[in-house]
């Protein structure tokens, strides 16, 4: 048999909702043509072929030319597994907010996990979990991080084709505001006073929320070098309370280091007019 000339692609999952790897299956028009160019050798959600069972053994049949990693690291076994995946992957790309920033499950990083465990499970001692949810880059070197909760289909295809062609993906780090302008959406903050995280949020969604009359809630995480001080001041001006400001940043990309100063900024900012004390 002739060797298969197609590069190999593996898709791996850690703690997540599966939405980012599902994005690959959502490429309905491109899925079958893509498989003519790429050998999808490990993708548990899509295939029961023997290669797909690599998780069990950790003995890996790689190497894989490109590994896409979905999900964050929340167990000691997953720490070991991600190191193995790095060893058997020529290129490793994280897909989505969980793999890139710890995901919504990183809310545990600000709380007592023992309490979380006890709130959900009657016998918490059976549940093996780390105190933190961390991005893949906290454990192994990553070649590229694709943002979003969930990632954008077009960006995913761009990243796969770029890596297979050996070039850098054309995904820029500017803000959602750029996309809003490109889309021709009137600024909802300027026109309607709706609080919007667009100025500090990483582009990629195509500025969806403002187009639907809703402020951006930051599901793509921080842009490159966000001006959080100005953002927090603006959110205050648009009527958000300290608690709401902290909450909106502490959601799908809660553990992004860029968001670290937010609680302090939200607390320092003196409101222009005396506002009612928040209950907590």
């Amino acid at each position: 048999m002739e060797p298969d000339p197609r590069p190999s692609l593996a898709v791996w999952k850690f703690a997540s909702c599966d939405g980012c790897q599902l994005t690959l299956l959502d490429c309905e028009d491109e899925l079958l043509p893509l498989t003519d160019r790429v050998r999808i050798t490990h993708f548990l959600e899509m295939s029961s072929a023997e290669d797909s069972r690599e998780r069990a053994t950790l003995e890996g049949t790689g190497p894989y030319d490109l590994s896409l990693v979905d999900g964050s690291i929340t167990t000691a076994e997953d720490v070991r597994r991600v190191h193995h995946i790095r060893r058997i992957s020529r290129r490793l790309v994280t897909i989505g907010a969980c793999a890139t920033a710890g995901g919504i499950q990183a809310l545990r990083n600000f709380a007592d996990v023992a309490e979380f465990r006890a709130a959900v499970y009657a016998d918490p001692e059976y549940i093996a979990t780390l105190d933190t949810s961390t991005p893949i880059s906290a454990h192994v070197p990553v070649d590229f991080e694709l943002r979003g909760c969930p990632i954008d289909r077009g960006q995913l295809l761009e990243v796969i084709t770029a890596f297979l062609a050996g070039r850098k993906p054309n995904v820029s780090g500017h803000s959602v505001c750029f996309e809003c302008k490109r889309r021709g959406t009137t600024c909802i903050t300027v026109a309607q006073g709706i609080p919007c995280l667009g100025p500090v949020t990483h582009a990629g969604c195509g500025a969806l929320c403002p187009a639907y009359g809703r402020g951006c809630y930051g599901c793509f995480g921080p842009m490159v070098q966000p001006n959080l001080e100005a953002m927090v001041r603006e959110l205050r001006h648009d009527g958000m309370s300290e608690r709401d400001i902290v909450r909106v940043f502490r959601t799908f990309n809660a553990a992004s280091p860029e968001y670290g100063p937010v609680p302090e900024l939200a607390a320092q900012e003196a409101p222009e007019t005396p506002a009612e004390e928040e209950p907590r």
Partner: protein, 451 residues
């Protein structure tokens, strides 16, 4: 192996399901001693970190429990909070929500049929290999799936974790011209869906029967998805036309459905009045089959499911693929009906002012009944969140189904089955139920123990 009938089988990672789980099967002296579904998906603690959030947040946050059925989470969360706040949403907004939910149904069910389940019947490891032999069928499936995604993208903003849903309704209600282009796509999808019913009806179905109770939402006159009351069809009721169904008011759900923790799983295991039970396509078809859209009713009859108009029940889990295909035809027809009749509502949402209260709701995620309950204080800060997802409810029934199917294979005369055959049988048995594992962790490796 000391005895021909004693062994242990392990399957460390179940493929073609949403999320991650393992199986452990112990056979002693030719009898299945243990069949365990081990959900090892790491816990993500949604119920814990919802506490302290605002009452407007659960639709966005709980959608992140599952990328395959976010609308089920959004819809159920909205309904539970609206009920707590004593708010009734305008009927045109309810219809729009239903349209979004049909979009998810079409997308998710056709994903399961074509990409996850059909390869089992045609002997392929994945849809990619399946497409080499049945390219037209896979492309047809992807086309239907795309129609569902198109609804979610247009109405919800995107197919995964839609952004246009809020408690009380939507951020933006579409103009008729925004929905009109979906109609052409859905007309094609309706033909494709009926063709899919005929395609899957021709598969070879092993004999199997799930005898236990079935639970699904019931709303007489309608194939209930986002409305109605949980209802239970008793164990053993067959397709004899008489189908006694017991209603279980959603407020009493937690009195009947009790979750308990088992050491082998991060998913809590549910029991209904102390027994395992099944939710999902077989349960919905049993409880509501008579109220399918006429085109889907005809398709069900032609596909050999019996006449749902007279209360036919399908208890063969392998045939759930036909039921799902019929449900897709129904969802497409209903989505078309809503789009044809659409007039923009006068307001995009109804205000939902908080009050100290508790509210619960249940709807039909594609994989089965999903229940939410929230309590909040006067300013809308959540003080409690309870979420009972379909796969956690189905876990015991799936284990019972596994035990039965493996035992029936072991009891068959002739050459005893090898580990490989048993593993394949177990995987198929689990995939029949379309488990959604990320949802339930709070799932498959197979271990067969023969000792």
């Amino acid at each position: 192996m000391s005895h021909r009938g004693s062994r242990v089988l392990r399957l460390d990672a179940l493929a073609r399901v949403e999320g991650e789980a393992a199986l452990h099967l112990a056979v002693r002296d030719g009898t299945v001693a243990e069949a365990r579904l081990r959900i090892y998906e790491p816990p993500r603690f949604f119920e814990a970190f919802l506490v302290g959030r605002g009452h407007g947040e659960p639709p966005d946050i709980t959608s992140r429990i599952c990328g395959i059925c976010p609308v089920a989470y959004q819809t159920t969360a909205c309904q539970a909070i609206e009920r707590a706040c004593g708010v009734t949403v305008d009927e045109p907004l309810v219809e729009l929500r239903r349209l979004l939910y049909y979009g998810e149904w079409i997308e998710s069910q056709s994903l399961h049929i074509h990409l996850l389940h059909a390869p089992d019947f045609l002997g392929h490891p994945s849809a990619v290999e399946l497409a080499r032999e049945h390219r037209a069928a896979v492309e047809r499936g992807l086309r239907i799936k795309q129609a569902g995604n198109a609804i979610m993208e247009q109405l919800g903003g995107r197919a995964i974790h839609p952004i246009n849903v809020r408690i009380g309704g939507f951020y933006h209600v579409p103009a008729p011209a925004e929905l009109a282009p979906l109609a052409d796509r859905l007309c094609r999808a309706h033909d494709d869906a009926l063709e899919t019913v005929r395609w899957v009806a021709g598969f070879d179905f092993p004999d199997a029967e799930y005898h236990g109770p079935l639970m699904a939402m019931r709303d007489p006159g309608r194939y209930a998805i986002d409305s109605g009351t949980p209802a239970v069809m008793a164990a053993g009721v067959g397709s004899n036309g008489s189908t006694p169904v017991r209603a279980l008011p959603v407020e009493e759900f937690e009195r009947h459905v009790v979750e308990r923790q088992v050491p082998h799983s991060t998913a809590l295991v549910s029991e209904l009045d102390g027994h395992h039970y099944l939710t999902g396509s077989l349960a919905r078809y049993a409880v509501s089959g008579r109220w399918l859209h006429p085109s889907a009713l005809d398709a069900a009859r032609e596909a050999g499911l019996g006449d749902p108009a007279t209360g036919a029940v399908c208890r063969n889990p392998f045939r759930s693929i036909i039921v799902r295909a019929v449900e897709v035809a129904h969802a497409v027809a209903e989505a078309l009906r809503i789009i044809d009749a659409y007039e923009p509502p006068s307001r995009s949402y109804v205000a939902v002012p908080p009050r100290p209260a508790t509210g619960c709701a249940a709807t039909e995620a594609p994989r089965g009944l999903l229940y939410h309950r929230y309590a909040m204080d006067a300013d809308g800060t959540l003080t409690l969140a309870r979420i009972v997802p379909p796969t956690a409810q189905n876990q015991s029934a799936i284990e019972d189904d596994l035990r039965r199917q493996v035992q029936s294979r072991l009891d068959r005369p002739g050459e005893p089955p090898g580990d490989e055959e048993l593993t394949a049988l177990c995987e198929r048995a689990v995939r029949n139920h379309d488990p959604c594992i990320s949802c339930s962790a709070h799932f498959l490796d197979l271990t067969v123990e023969r000792g």
